[in-house]
């Protein structure tokens, strides 16, 4: 089997009395897509935020390869190779699409304390940025301001940014949210293409996407991972049907 890149043990997090991560364990491997599903408010986004370093867990460990990253901040984890997309699109709204991706390229290059050359004419940034945009189908929109892009395009931009980071781990928070049917199909195709090179954690409500992409599915209910296994086993698990899929088929 492929290597485990990201491993979570005994993760706990509470906001006051509300427990959002209740002793969660999880693994993500290179070449695999691990889907995280669960009803609204189950704590999926908060779990992802803990993996990305935005939210500090109350207890538990997060390992990246053989390194304990539990105490690292989000920027340090990103530099190690953990990239994320946001459920609510988070881009630099007043930059162009290309600028947004160029920043990701720049972050990887780790030479950003550069004060002289104009970044707008820096081929070392611009070429890879364009390539990433072309890959998600945003090539023609490269010079459009990010805030002027349509919602679906912004979701694709989020993905292009994550791709340009060339991460080892890709944490995706509902990349399909708000997309139309065709847009979703395109996104799924894209993610399949990317999958072999990364370890992917995918939060998604779209069961079609989960069925097509996920090698393993974990079901989170009220912060608790109630079941984990292949899509088929999960789909037929009575507890899951009761807690989550019940109203979905």
């Amino acid at each position: 089997m492929a290597d485990t890149v990201l491993a979570v043990r005994g993760l706990r997090k509470a906001f006051g009395a509300l427990v959002v991560s209740d002793d969660v364990a999880l693994e993500v491997r290179t070449g695999e897509c691990h889907a995280l599903i669960g009803p609204n408010g189950a704590g999926k986004t908060t779990l992802l935020a803990q993996l990305a370093g935005e939210v500090a867990p109350d207890a538990g460990t997060i390992r990246f390869g053989d390194r304990d990253v539990t105490r690292l901040g989000p920027d340090a984890r990103a530099r190690l190779g953990i990239a994320r997309s946001f459920q609510i699109t988070t881009i630099v709204a007043d930059f162009t699409a290309e600028d947004n991706v160029a920043l990701a390229v720049q972050a990887r290059a780790a030479t950003s304390m550069r004060f002289w050359r104009s970044a707008a004419r820096d081929a070392a940034l611009r070429d890879p940025a364009r390539a990433a945009l072309v890959r998600v189908g945003l090539g023609p929109r490269a010079n459009t301001r990010a805030s002027d892009l349509a919602h679906g395009e912004q979701r694709l931009l989020e993905l292009a940014i994550a791709l340009a980071q060339e991460p080892a781990v890709l944490l995706l928070d509902e990349p399909m949210a708000g997309l139309g049917h065709d847009e979703s199909r395109a996104m799924i195709a894209l993610l399949r293409e990317i999958k072999p090179a990364v370890a992917m954690l995918l939060i998604e409500h779209d069961m079609q996407a989960v069925a097509e992409l996920a090698d393993r599915v974990t079901v989170l209910v009220a912060g608790h991972a109630i079941a984990s296994g292949s899509y088929e086993t999960i789909r037929t698990d009575p507890r899951v049907r009761e807690a989550y899929l019940g109203d979905d088929g």
């Binding site: 630099v92 709204a93 920043l103 104009s118 970044a119």
Partner: protein, 301 residues
Amino acid sequence: MTLALLIALPPLAAVLDQPFWVNTVTRILILALAAVSLDLIVGYGGLVSFGHAAYFAVGGYTIAVLAQHGIDAALIAWPAAVVAAAVLAAIVGTLSLRTTGIFFIMITLAFAQMVFFTLVAVKAWGGNDGLPLDARSVLPLVNLRDPNALYFVCLGLLLAFVALAAQLVESRFGMVLRGARSSERRMLALGFPTFRYKLVAFVVAGAGAGLAGALWAEYARFVSTDMASWTRSGEFLVMVILGGLGSLVGAIYGAAVLLGLESFLAGFTEHWMLLLGAILLVVVLFAKRGLYGWLAGANDG
């Protein structure tokens, strides 16, 4: 256009026998330097510092105190002023940049107040009375006692700083700084330690204000605690806003307009502050993009 006018000003003033023009514009150039440095962090970094006068004052007092001890070589005193202001900015920035929003505004104000009251308290530096300079510093080849020479030195340094700042905001560093202004979360998720970038910008801005303070000390041959007062910090912000946030050159117009308005209004009424306040209020409430945005028309981003 403006630049040609600025270069032609001293001979023009001489021909028209209006020598005070040179003085007035020198003053504008110096304050514009401080305003441009503030625009670098407010306009591009989103860091609303309400204590920029502190660096201005530290620059000025460095010159005056060095002169007091007999050091009048500009090539020593000016860099010393810049370094002193930069060091203060590094300390204040390190402590302040942990906070955001109004807390940042208030903590930068608090540090500036500390500088202000320290200057008031140090009797050796004149306390509330300020500290006069016997003569301007000495620069090789240039006689700063000549108002025109001082004028061109100020103009040159202002242009150099604008060029440096413009370069900075267009560079990779500037991309990160501007990105963090608009979405800090995204920049962190990309792996940028945003704190460091903001701190560097904060220090560069402090250094620019320090240089402006040094030039002010040379120009006025006098420094006082007024240089560090919170109203002075407020005026710098007003210049930046009048000129239009994040346009660097705009801040120069902002400084010119504020000083111009002040002397124009003061010319025909004793209560010019009331009018100035009213104008400022209208600009803030209704003309968001400032003078520069208005001058540059809709095509400026």
